[in-house]
């Protein structure tokens, strides 16, 4: 029962917040809705018994990708006065989001404790004698190792391509050379002189 409620809760919020990503007028709010959608997708993964994927979803998408989105979007020049005109006060909305998040946490853990969704209802049959991580490891690193490495290679090429496209050589930049700095000793930089009176010091 609680799994069913949790499923419909997560699924509804994924779709609703995905819609809000498009409908929100403030791009930063869009990113926040996107994060809520990611969270609920992770909840759905938990219900399917894939706790490893759920955690990865949060780490990779919420923890890294969405931060980068936010990073870019925050720097957009937004006219706040214009945006605020049509907006109701945010506090009730914020409270609503907080309540939903708390309810979800309780549901997720409750559903987790009550066991995953019925096996027959799952899209793919599950081997139950191994943990998530072991199953994934066996598939990715043993059975499909060459495909996996090929995918890694494609990503590497894409990464190098991105660096080549954006990298430009700038002349006259003074870069700190840390090892040269730490190798430097007082003897290299200072000189003790004892000039006689009326004589200068040669620099």
């Amino acid at each position: 029962m609680i799994q069913l409620i949790a499923f419909y809760l997560f699924a509804t919020i994924v779709i609703a917040s995905a819609a809000m990503v498009i409908f929100a007028r403030n791009p930063v709010h869009s990113v926040m809705w996107l994060i809520l959608a990611f969270f609920n997708a992770a909840g759905l993964m938990l219900l399917a018994g894939a706790e490893f994927i759920a955690m990865l979803l949060v780490i990779v998408y919420v923890g890294a990708v969405a931060v980068l989105f936010l990073f870019i979007v925050m720097m957009l020049n937004i006219d706040f006065a214009e945006l605020r005109a049509g907006f109701v006060r945010y506090l009730p909305l914020g409270a609503l989001v907080a309540v939903i998040l708390a309810a979800e946490l309780i549901f997720a853990v409750g559903a987790w404790n009550a066991g995953g969704v019925d096996l027959a209802a799952r899209a793919a049959p599950v081997v139950t004698d191994k943990s998530n991580i072991e199953q994934l490891g066996e598939l990715l690193y043993t059975k499909y190792i060459f495909l996996f490495e090929a995918a890694g290679l494609v990503l590497l090429v894409a990464m190098i391509g991105a660096i080549v496209l954006t990298h430009r050589e700038r002349g006259g930049v003074r870069v700190q050379n840390v090892s040269a700095q730490t190798r430097r000793r007082p003897g290299d930089a200072t000189r003790l002189v004892d000039p006689g009176s009326g004589q200068g010091v040669e620099l």
Binding site: V58, A64, V67, L70, Y90, L91, G94, A98, V178
Partner: protein, 347 residues
Amino acid sequence: MTETFISWGMDPNWAWGVATICGILLIALPLMLAVAMIIYADRKIWAAIALRRGPNVVGPFGLLQSFADGLKVFLQETIIPSGANRGLFLIAPIITFTVALMAWAVIPFNSGAVLADINVGLLYILAVSSLGVYGVVLSGWASNSKYPFFSAMRAAAQMISYEVSIGFILVCVVLYADSFNLNEIIKAQQGHGLGIVNAFGFNLLLFPIAVIFLIASLAETARAPFDLTEAESELVAGYQTEYSSMAFALFWLGEYANVLLMATLNAILFWGGWLPPIDWAPLYAVPGIIWLFAKILFFFFVFSWVKATVPRYRYDQLMRLGWKVFLPISLIWIVLISGWLMLTRYS
């Protein structure tokens, strides 16, 4: 705890719910008290190193200073700047504080004394700690002010950079412990060093990354010398500049709860958690929680010590350390450790 409630004649589902809520309170309330005392300890250590007295007026030895500060902050007026984005401005400190508390759910305080003994405990901690950056970034943006915004930019870049190498360091620990479960990781450290010492840190192969993890956890919690997000000489108070009253206090509490969490992670992942340092039977008579607390306090002392003695990094130096020093070393170490394990354990 669930069994106790069931034995009192409670329905199992209700017993689980009540036991969980009791467990949460049992962790969160002492944690808040610990945060209050640790702020006092931090100020005292800092003062002692700077040859000052530190807080010494409120209560005996100034012990009640944090509570006086808390009361003062509680009585202040909450000011929301007119240009601020109200909703996000208020949600940001709540996120920081909640996230700082959430990670404690999987921390084992003794053999079996853990709120949620999940298989992916370490990943859960990584996931939750990666959320911490949202509190800072959102507060910086929602304040609609220059300095908080700079601070938010710095925080986002800094935390992502150091999370990468922290992730790789955790992979090394997982390879050695053969599990993501924190309790299993601690148990794998029993007698790890020649059957004498209980810690991964005494392993010559793991000691260097234990040091890197300590430094990276300083950066991850934005403590000195990596406190560029609140560098007062450049950014006033960074992302907290526009905050007052309880919203400010939530940042404050969350920050120190995070510092405690990082000290705990250091203790658990590399220094044996609730195990005594030496694998000798009489030492097991001391409750594990005391060993854990001793280790946490030691690492907290190291954190304060560093804060009081090391000057702040420049921003480009911070990025260099994260991407050009820690990342390659931790990557090489994964290869090294998996090679060593293939040679010794799996061949």
